[in-house]
Symmetry: D2
Subunit: 337 residues, 4 copies
């Protein structure tokens, strides 16, 4: 059994605790939070769990193998770094850190100490996203043309990060997972509806190699909740609606064919419309899958898990470029590698 | 009775013919098209209508009071200019012309000759958009925060104009109508899915005075048809779904209140959720309303109709800036006045 | 060219006229209506069509080969009988007549004179219903278990027929077409929301041979329009939503398997959930298909078309039994053969 | 604190345990189930709860004030009777018992001993149903015309009760709550898709005094889940969709007006279409509200709670009549009082 400590028991804490407790591979030794009220909300019947405010005590405990970090984003780096220095694997909520420089330092530190960095890009562990990856990788999907995502709702307005770091991060993790293409350049325009707060709405466009484009619309001030992504391919297209209870993915055989006209330099465009398929998806909890993947990474010393440190860095690289572009009202910015 | 000639009898032609014929104020004298096959499709039982390929003949006929132009965009200017020079009012399909310079020339020419320019910004004549304007103008709506529109489908891919000039033009006409705020700057990113064709997808963001922002997502290669616009206000928000047969507009009393915390510099955010209202809309044909407005403009020498030449220019100003930004991958561009 | 006369130019008249005019096989000679205002609404540019109030004149004209009857239900029989006696084929709006006895007389008369009776069970000529029939006839659909249809809206309340004869008639025509099973017995409960008017809502259940059951819910006083039919099979199930613009049919591979438990008299029930398919449907106008089928019936002396006199009788047999049951608040009534 | 014992810890058990534990008014002393595996699933951190198979022991414990019964329907009566004889209040899952005779005995016994019978008609404690009752009771709703409910899904097929006793019971409880009208007569047709099992689909129609009618469609073999109820009034209509996450109720100002024609015996029908309202509903857990109401009933010796023994009887009276009608394929059956 791998012994873990959970640092930060806020909104997501109960889900982490439940899933690590339900796993056969982990034993939760500590839940640590600065706030005693948060600790009081722990409902586990496990008497061995130690509730504490003292993160130092946790890191010093040599029986602890891994640290689960679900604190505010701006504290990720400091805790992650201390944990890696203390020789512990880390499971970090998204995004990995609040700058690419910090991500790189964590990656180097982990590499040096042969430790696992696992970023909780939760969506990669849903059946829906796994299915999308399978479909896209088949030849019959054709070339990736575009990814267009709307992720809006009347959301919790955050103080420390803007809406891109809170919501677009999910799309960036999915894009990084399903496409192996490199992002080249971003353009982002944001909007602050409330004075002295981070951007509450943002529109981000990313140009990739091979003429693939991604567009992400995120908003904390929408009267309706939408989680809808269209993935256009040259032969098939997918509409992914994460709010559907079961039929989350619809695969369309729709598109256009470009036919060379005889005796003419012009092209003829023909529309294709075929049957539509809704694949049956298993109803697994994504976080349980993530916990299992974290276990396998540790056990098999697998540094290239689905959402490792480099994946975390890739996502933060785009967020950083987006912030720069947003500060200049859409001016295109290169994405670092 | 005002005597008119329709120039261009393509996709939209039958709708124009039917609505001008059904009006009590107009008499259709000519339908003119280069293509005889198009003319053959005319099903009117009116024997007085002259079908012709000869636009010159039509413009020379002094009994013709007004010209209805529904030809490809790049021919609008030439026909409109000739018609104005021949002393005829014009009713032009959107957009008014393919450049702001041409729009300005037409406006000056019309002014000089006391003639009406009417641009067929059809959506302004729908009950839905009229209702939205009414709601937005009430104090209880609060400040305009954002306009976010998705207008995508597997559409007719055009050769002469890109997807912004075909689809976003509707949103720009609506924005110009419902808000009196000035657009400052745009950022647009486009995508050519097909070589040697105009952009098939584009993402346009417009910053207005008073911290109002508009975002428009248009795409000719979507597997699903969406016509959905969210209009966020500080007190209320509207979702406008043009594909709904009757309940096109939903008004949400949702949003956030920012409350000053006592003894603290921080603000407290409170969510407001109230009842939702779906106003009953009459089911009038927009084009019939446009035809009536054109009549009133001519009759009352009203140069400031809902969609006059200046409105046409305002829309083209933004399209021009968007094209420039799109050519530079999102670089912000000022909107001319 | 088969020469026809249309008797009754009300709500459905323009659709009939347009489709018979568009057909290459028919020539419309007369449109006959008692009401001159109705005749004035004819917009055809065909100068040969004679508009008349005099049905006698039409029937006497020997150049007329066939009569299209779209008058109120209670006048169908008289006109149809006169037409058949005058040696003309008939195309009758649904239902064929207002009693099974009258249907039988018409069938005998047509048989004696070798004339075609075509009942306009329009839905049978939609792509959706044709596709459903194909799916159901494949072995992989399994046994037909149930048909459950909701057909409600805020409808035109009729004076001469109740809601079953107006709306349920569509379901009965579809049932008669897609299943070759015999209806045994019906139970119907109706409701008169308005005094001195026919039933405005009715709930009809039909038991067929082989344990197949159909349930039909029709209502003229619903605030929402619903046209939804579920067809349950032992292996697959279909949901048919006629209001969807294109994805009208969804095929589910869902159901239960009953497994014999070993060493036990009890059965184990296992749920099956597979992929879902939305077949691509062509967008043909049903009435145009009906007109073609009517032509083929006449040309090929085909007395067993998709919606011949016997089909019209089968539907009226159930409506008659339903009326009897409804008069006794649901008492089961046998269906005549 | 009122001390309770929960008898039966199956599907619904964890919800009952959690809500009684979360209440400030109750203390859970026992959870009793025949099946030790069920008892093992208890996750409470409360060490005082005694887990047992011995219901006799529980009933003999004088410190226990009330018994919560969530066992299979056919065992309700025996446990309820023993509990009442032992001087304990009872909270019984729906339906109260499997016959009206048994319900009556329980009611008499409770009355004699001044004990509370609370039936867990859960839906009555949802915000949606409470709101519907409020709307219906206002004059502006007009007369109740009809209630039409579809409650279908691919459901757990039960062995001891048919689909009416499992699903229609919810509608009957809602009907009994929102309307004070008396049911007169029912007609029900059922269908057994699986041999030797109870009915898996049933169509039930109930005639009430004052020309009010209810229709309930329940099915365990539907490929799609639907929970949709239309409540028609003479001035307004409600559509209640329980699967909507928040906008569960839509209130339509739609209907018809019957206008006396001058100088004529005929009536003119006019359609009314007004604005549509979606009331904002609080998101309370229904079972928590039920637990509070049970507490108030005990504390205030309130025998006429929202879902008391008589309400349980009213529901079972209709189910009994429906079973009789179903056995005769829809023959109308009077409802006992």
């Amino acid at each position: 059994m791998i012994k873990i400590a959970i640092i930060g028991y806020g909104y997501w804490g109960p889900n982490l605790l439940r899933n690590f407790e339900n796993s056969n591979f982990f034993e939760v030794r500590y839940v640590c939070d600065k706030n005693n009220d948060s600790l009081k909300k722990i409902r586990s019947s496990n008497k061995k769990i130690i509730k504490t405010n003292d993160i130092g005590k946790v890191l010093k405990d040599d029986t602890v193998d891994a640290i689960v970090i679900s604190t505010p984003v701006n504290s990720h780096y400091k805790i992650a770094e201390s944990a890696l220095r203390a020789g512990k694997h880390i499971f970090v909520e998204k995004p990995l850190a609040d700058s690419s420089a910090k991500c790189k330092k964590l990656i180097q530190l982990a590499l040096k100490n042969s430790l696992i960095i696992f970023v909780d890009h939760t969506f990669l562990y849903t059946e829906a996203v796994c299915e999308i990856k399978k479909i896209v990788e088949k030849n019959e999907f054709g070339d990736l043309l575009y990814y267009d995502s709307t992720r809006i709702n009347l959301g919790l307005i955050q103080n420390d990060v803007n809406v891109l770091w809170d919501l677009a991060v999910h799309d960036l993790a999915i894009l990084n997972y399903i496409s192996k293409l490199n992002p080249i350049e971003v353009s982002a325009v944001g909007h602050k509806h409330i004075k002295n707060k981070p951007e509450t709405a943002a529109y981000l466009t990313i140009k990739y190699q091979n003429n693939f484009i991604a567009h992400i619309n995120v908003n904390w001030l929408s009267p309706v909740k939408i989680r809808k992504t269209i993935l256009g391919g040259s032969n098939k297209m997918i509409v992914y609606n994460d709010l559907e209870p079961s039929d989350k993915i619809i695969i369309y055989k729709k598109g256009i064919n470009i036919v060379k006209k005889q005796n003419s330099s012009a092209n003829l465009i023909k529309y294709r419309i075929g049957d539509t398929l809704i694949p049956s998806l298993k109803n697994k909890e994504a976080l349980a899958e993530a916990v299992s993947e974290f276990y396998r990474s540790i056990k098999e010393k697998k540094f290239n898990s689905k959402s490792n440190g480099n994946d975390g860095l890739n996502v933060v690289n785009i967020l950083e470029a987006a912030d720069k572009s947003m500060a200049k009202n859409g001016k295109p910015m290169k994405v670092s590698k």
